[in-house]
Symmetry: C5
Subunit: 288 residues, 5 copies
């Protein structure tokens, strides 16, 4: 059993293998163009499978790449299109223990490993969403919006990867091809279950994220409502004093108590009383 | 008929049983890893079923665990992965009355009991949503948002459990396997109906919860509108007095009635009249 | 042909009939537990059908009950689980004209009548939604929200009843059972069409209701906008007068025209001019 | 080939035809009850087809009616249930050219014509939505909301008509019945394509309409934001003058420059400077 | 093999070809009416395929046209209904290299090229959405709304084109017709994959666009909240000074410190102290 590992799709080695194993030109072309969808295609003598590698870069943005696999009866060709450290490590581990394994067994190990490598990414998003949820409730700031948008974008992309990968796993598990021994079926079904569970998780995360955007809006509306109330309460406290002092500032004759020595006390009392009555009304309307 | 109850999935007893009944290594692994989805898998000589146990903790948060069942012709193995008090009680009751029962009859009782144990949880959420509905209409506060979010999260999780459980029940009810006697089919169909009804209920609850978030936002917008109106009415009452008293406070000559002994009365009348006219206009615009 | 009418599911008569006609214990249990979903189950010698009765109580809230039917070759058993006046009347009418009818003919009449009894309820909701639509556009008040929420809840429940009833009608119309004569098929298809049309209507009503909630929010936002504009226009009218009168109220020397006998006229003119200019600017910005 | 045109479903002529051609009582009943859904039913010796006629009344509201067709081997019965002028014209045109045509050919012409008559209605809604789009962006007023709601209602109804009509066309095109010659199949497929395209259009229009409601809300929120800014800018301009003039209006001793002949100039300068500084700060915050 | 290129559907040449190759009148009619949906129809002796051409005009609005193809065993007829420069270029290139190619090979090249010509359009929308996302977060202005609406409209139309094109590709790839050699199947499957990927992309873009509208609203709400806070802070700073100076402006006797030579200092201190206390309270409420 030969395992040909190609780390650069432009490598001429791929052309030599294509000739040797009679690979379809469209499949070789797929290897060389990035951004394929995960898929499986049965061809004469081999299966062509595209898997998506997913990891987080240092600045926590999602990085998606391709891993192309040709699975033949006695050969396996893997083509890595973008450097994804966890998948690189995985392939090295599997190669280390590859002796005496059939091609379909290696293929299962690779697929299983790639699918497992999605989990840390999903866990990361779970944490991000928990964090965003706290933010939208406690202190909604414009930066929260930017993070929600960025996370949404990543989840949309991740969902697309998982939907296609699930289709691949579903197809593999039912394939009539004799390239895969029947005893491998429960294992491929297990991969399918894993991907389905991951997909459920991403759907839940998308639901929660959408919810957190709604709550952001409600939370901001609520805060504006609070600010308005404070403004109105401030106005309520100040207005009687302003109106009454305005009246007593007029250059007119006949203002009551204007000449009284207790004038200031009486008028201040009026101001205070009016303010207290207004605040009482707001209190009745349950504003604070 | 032997019923092996395993309460700790790490127990070495499970390995002994796996050897004795030739259980598939992937199924044993599933028992030992938590957070499986509810599923059923047919294997040589037995059915492997994962059910989800659901209960509410003391602080009313949703706790979801696994209950793994191996159903053979003459044996039943149950593996509990997390302590769920209602399911623990259920298993003890069933064991107490297990004498002379076939494995598939016990299996039905367990499944039926687990599904029944979802009902109190659903009832709890019905009450929470009724309560939230009152809150969003009467007194929408930020804390309401946090409760809506938490409930939404639980319902999303519960829905996922029920969707998978319904698939399990649907599969069981149509299974070709001779491990389940035909006379049990109506009973399994009954379980399927129960789960479907629960799922309908959760969908209704999700719909209502989404509605309550929309109503929260509308309710807050409405309250802000009320606050704005109060602020404007306050301004309307105060402004004429402020403007007119400001004018009569100017150090200028020739203000009308400035020297009149009835000046104060005339000017106060002007203030009152202007305020009444403005309030009348707002009244016409149906503000209060 | 015997028609057994049971008005209280706890009645021991039901047990006697169960024994006589060999009814499945699960079906008898279903009759005695309320809140079943509409469903049809084929059993040996009879069909078990659960229909939902729907009517409005005096305070216009939706009341949903069960009507269980056992349809045998030469017997019909109806079990009413909750008092639904329109269905009670219906059953009495059918019984009055039952002489000489086959069981499946009576069954069709009952089903048709139950489905027809949904129409007044749907008409009621159509009126409620028309009314709500006017309210959200003309005078959105918090009470409108409570009515929208209550109506939404009823429609969600009604939709669930109709979806399940449509499945029942669809199943009946295709049933292989010889309990239903072929000539009845077009009639059962007619029932199916009725339910489908009702379901279309409920979906339309839900769509309209969701729309009316969106419009409520937009309508309130618009009103707040109007209130803000009034507040700003008020401020625009008052501010120049306040500022200028404030300035002329200062105990300072050298205020222009302070000693002029036309001072008041000149300064009032300034106030008026500034206000007019500001209002003109707002007018240009098309605020009113 | 006989074409019986019935313009009033209550006409006794329909009963005579029902007897002569042995029409099913349920179909005759359907003709006499309005508000059927578009549908096709195969019966012994004929096809019963319900089409929906759609036109706009003078006040631009949607008017939906029924056109019932019985298609036999050598007869055609059309029953118009509501006056729809375009369909009336259509039937007259077809009748004018009916000589020598088979029943299924006439049926195709009628169906094709009815489906074509939907187009002007769809074009009307396209224009309405274009117009609404301009309104929500330029000058969102409450009346816009009422038009959005009314259009939404019409589109929901139109969609329902089209979905059912598409099912009818799909059914006709695959029917096993020998009432329709095989050569008519491409023509019926053409009708199906037309309806599908119309349905796509209605879905697009609904999408756009929903979008325009969202944009209405955003647009109003934006305008409120603008109003608030204007209010705040006004306050910013006036407040320093008010505060400073208030201070210099106090009956206190020791106010700086109070006795200076340049007092007014100095204090006015202070007012101006404070206002300019505040406006500068708002400018830095990019408010205008 | 003859390739007939028709650039004007009204060309009488089309009629001559229709006669020669016995094209169905409905297909010729489809060529002459614009705004067909992408579709494929099998007819006697040829396949009739409608593809949609898509390009951006100078002002970046989406232009959609039709490209009709008749694929026979030894002939190919292409009918361009609207000028689409990229497709014009494409057809010229293919014609240049057409010598010795079979009709189905040319057909594949045309289809592949048309589908590839969608990519620059999709890339354009990706950039527009990235740009809109920045705008809604940084500086949401009404013009942003207009662009969101216009982009939404284009994406809705593009989605419709792609959904129909995908159906065409799916149909071609499974067609039983012997007009397409089996060796072409992987190539047609490749086209199908391309269209599916494009459709995924458009769905993602629609999701992101919907998200950006939600974020616009949240962003504006947040800004209004900021403006309100600034207004309230301004009020907080000014009100104590206004109230206190109003009181000391009254023509009353007995105001404390009114006669004191330090009156101004004391009173100014009071103003400052009250303002500082109020600002401190707002600070505690974490307003700035």
């Amino acid at each position: 059993m030969d395992w040909h590992e190609i780390r650069d799709p432009q490598d001429a080695e791929l052309d030599r293998l294509a000739e040797r194993y009679r690979l379809h030109p469209l499949h070789v072309e797929d290897c060389r163009h990035r951004n394929q969808s995960a898929k499986v295609e049965e061809s004469r003598g081999y299966l062509f499978v595209v898997l998506k590698t997913v990891h987080l870069t240092v600045d926590e943005s999602l990085q998606v790449g391709d891993l192309d696999i040709f699975l033949g009866r006695d050969f396996l060709i893997t083509v890595e299109e973008a450097l994804c450290p966890p998948v690189r490590t995985l392939l090295e581990q599997i190669r280390g223990a590859a002796a005496g394994q059939r091609a379909d067994q290696l293929f299962y190990r690779i697929t299983d490993g790639v699918v497992d490598s999605y989990l840390p990414v999903l866990d990361h998003f779970s944490e991000v969403i928990d964090d965003l949820e706290d933010q939208v409730l406690d202190r909604p700031v414009p930066d929260t919006l930017a993070r929600i948008f960025k996370t949404k974008r990543s989840l949309i992309e991740l969902r697309r990867v998982l939907v296609n990968t699930r289709d691949v796993a579903g197809h593999m598990q039912r394939t009539e091809s004799d390239l895969i021994h029947r005893e491998m079926w429960p294992f491929l079904r297990d991969v399918y279950d894993h991907v389905s569970r991951n997909l459920d998780l991403v759907e839940m995360q998308r639901d929660l994220l959408t919810g957190s955007l709604d709550i952001y809006l409600s939370s901001v509306a609520n805060r504006t409502n609070q600010v308005m109330k404070v403004l109105t309460v401030l106005g309520t406290i100040a207005l009687p004093a302003l109106v009454i002092s305005g009246i007593y500032g007029m250059n007119l004759k006949g203002l009551p108590w204007a000449a009284s020595p207790h004038g200031t006390a009486i008028v201040s009392g009026m101001m205070l009383a009016t303010t207290v009555v207004l605040l009482g009304i707001l209190r009745l309307m349950r504003w604070f």
